[in-house]
């Protein structure tokens, strides 16, 4: 299980601000949020790839680029050997069925005016997944798959709790029988107890349907729990990728280290009062030069300000983008 199914190759994405006529007249420079700045990442068939990072670092944007909700401004996203930007018409729809996305917000990701049955049958119908007569049966099957009672079909989303809604979202994605699921903060809006239910469901489905999963989250514990490999993002860049155990035990990038240190441990006996990372995320509009993390990095030296570090191999399957070969854990 090492062949690449989906890959991002040097993907970049900017969100330009609206420019008024006046700006044009004044010749003001185009301002943009640099959400992704050259992200390269491979997703291997059957694996779960976790993507972590702080808010605004471009996790969602990357996820959206992977399913082509955004078209990337630079680089490309390749699925099964083809650049997805070239797909159109039937091919594009076929791609949509193969790579599906599930969303963060259980409240806004379902159309509040459609019953579960309408939501699911729309997906089945538009993509001709099943002949008309089999649609009801398939809906029953899907509900079963995500552990929802059968009588759920004819209810509107507001009749469900957050966890149940996320299951409906999963069912909708599964309706088109995808190979890849991109889950953006799938459980972060849920209560811990319900979070666990959904995580369990995802693990189980992945086994049963041999899905490839891209799991985007900011919760390190969760990512660690379900990912085979983890990519850490900072300011629109991947700064470190490694198999889960390696990453959590021996992080090579100072940012990863700070992130791990900042996450509170679930053990009251191991408290620290040391602040893990100083400062805040710089503005994605005016990015720092060189290493994006140098403004907050305890190890920063002059090269970090001038040179952009590349992802370099550290161990088998472990890459990190830091000028230091092995920054010490602080």
């Amino acid at each position: 299980m090492s062949d690449t199914l989906l890959s991002a190759q040097d993907v970049s994405k900017d969100f330009a601000f609206g420019r008024s006529l006046l700006d044009v007249v004044k010749g003001a420079p185009i301002k943009a949020v640099h959400a992704l700045n050259g992200v390269s990442l491979d997703v291997k068939r059957g694996e779960t790839l976790g993507i972590v990072g702080e808010s605004g670092c471009g996790k969602s944007t990357l996820a959206r680029c992977l399913v082509r909700l955004h078209d990337c401004d630079g680089g490309r996203v390749v699925y099964d050997g083809t650049d997805i930007a070239t797909l159109s018409g039937a091919d594009r729809r076929a791609f949509n069925t193969k790579v599906q996305m599930i969303f963060q917000d259980p409240y806004s990701s379902l159309n509040p005016r459609m019953t579960v049955r309408q939501i699911l049958s729309e997906a089945l119908r538009v993509h001709n997944m099943r002949p008309k007569v089999e649609i009801d049966a398939r809906i029953a099957e899907l509900l079963d798959l995500v552990r929802l009672p059968q009588d759920a079909a004819d209810r509107l989303p507001h009749a469900f709790s957050g966890g149940q809604r996320q299951r409906i979202g999963i069912a909708r994605a599964l309706a088109v029988e995808p190979e890849v699921l991109v889950a953006d903060e799938l459980v972060s809006a849920l209560d811990v107890s319900v979070q666990a239910q959904v995580v369990n469901l995802l693990l189980e489905l992945q086994d049963r349907l041999s899905l490839t999963v891209v799991f985007v989250a900011h919760d390190l514990r969760l990512v660690r729990h379900i990912s085979h490999r983890v990519a850490v993002m900072y300011l629109g860049k991947v700064v470190e990728v490694a198999p889960t155990e390696t990453l959590f035990k021996a992080p090579k990038h100072p940012y990863t280290q700070a992130l791990l240190a900042a996450a509170p441990e679930v053990d009251p006996t191991r408290r620290t009062r040391r602040v893990a990372a100083k400062g805040e995320l710089p503005s994605p509009i005016n990015l720092p030069s060189g290493c994006l993390f140098h403004t907050r990095c305890p190890h920063a030296f002059d090269r970090c300000v001038s040179d952009v570090p590349q992802l370099t191999p550290r161990r088998p399957g472990h890459v990190a983008a830091c000028h230091l070969p092995d920054p010490e854990l602080p």
Binding site: R92, F95, T97, N111, R113, M114, V126, R172
Partner: protein, 276 residues
Amino acid sequence: MTVMSVSRLRRLPRAFVFGAAILIASVIVATFPSAFAPYDPLAMDYVNLLAPPSAAHPFGTDNFGRDVLSRVIHAYTIDMQIALFATLFPFIFGTIVGAIVGYVGGVTESIFGRVVDAVITFPFLVLVIAIVSVLGPGLINMYIAIGVVGWVFYARIIAAEVKVQKRLDYADAGRAMGYTHARIVFRHLLPNAITPAVVYWMTDMALAILLGSSLGYLGLGAQPPAAEWGVQIADGKNFMATAWWISVFPGFAIVLTGLGFSLLGDGLAEILRGRK
């Protein structure tokens, strides 16, 4: 009515129930005016001019000797029509345009913004008067004139709401599912974006009746001999001191109907807000 629906009715906001009751009654009267009106609204009685309210003519008679009550009742037909038709086209057209503008955004939105500016910059009543003058007076032309201007307001509301809805995940979910833009706009976004427009619609219907009566006052609205409240009030203007009943009763009808619409609108807003 089943027990359940009664109990559900009780849970509806009071404003909604009152408003709906007034309007349902109005619609019934508007549909079968002859069943309620004691006289032919057009029948003139030259010996009974300007008769004050009496048992025979509870609302009195006007300067043609016509029964005011019967005219108020028959006016329901026209005024409810005005409420509906003067607003229906703007509602539908504005909704469609607004949905597209809100969804597409960008240049379309800027252009639309200028159109909105132009329309709201132009005094509404003056524009309507000008358009009716071009087309000629009469209800249909009045509808057209109001429609030409009115759709913009709906489109603005819908565009703003669609823009909000567009940013919600379910819209993206639709795109991720590979649905067409048309399907996402009209099947998914619009049903969720339409509520403020519907609430505005209710207010607008009341305003349409009022506008209709203003135009009636200027002779540009409903054409005689048809009874219409605004025209009746205008007719009665010269008799405010001597025969107040000619204008006061149609005035009541306007206020009552307007109240119905805005109660319904308020109630609707409350229900829809509550659901969120």
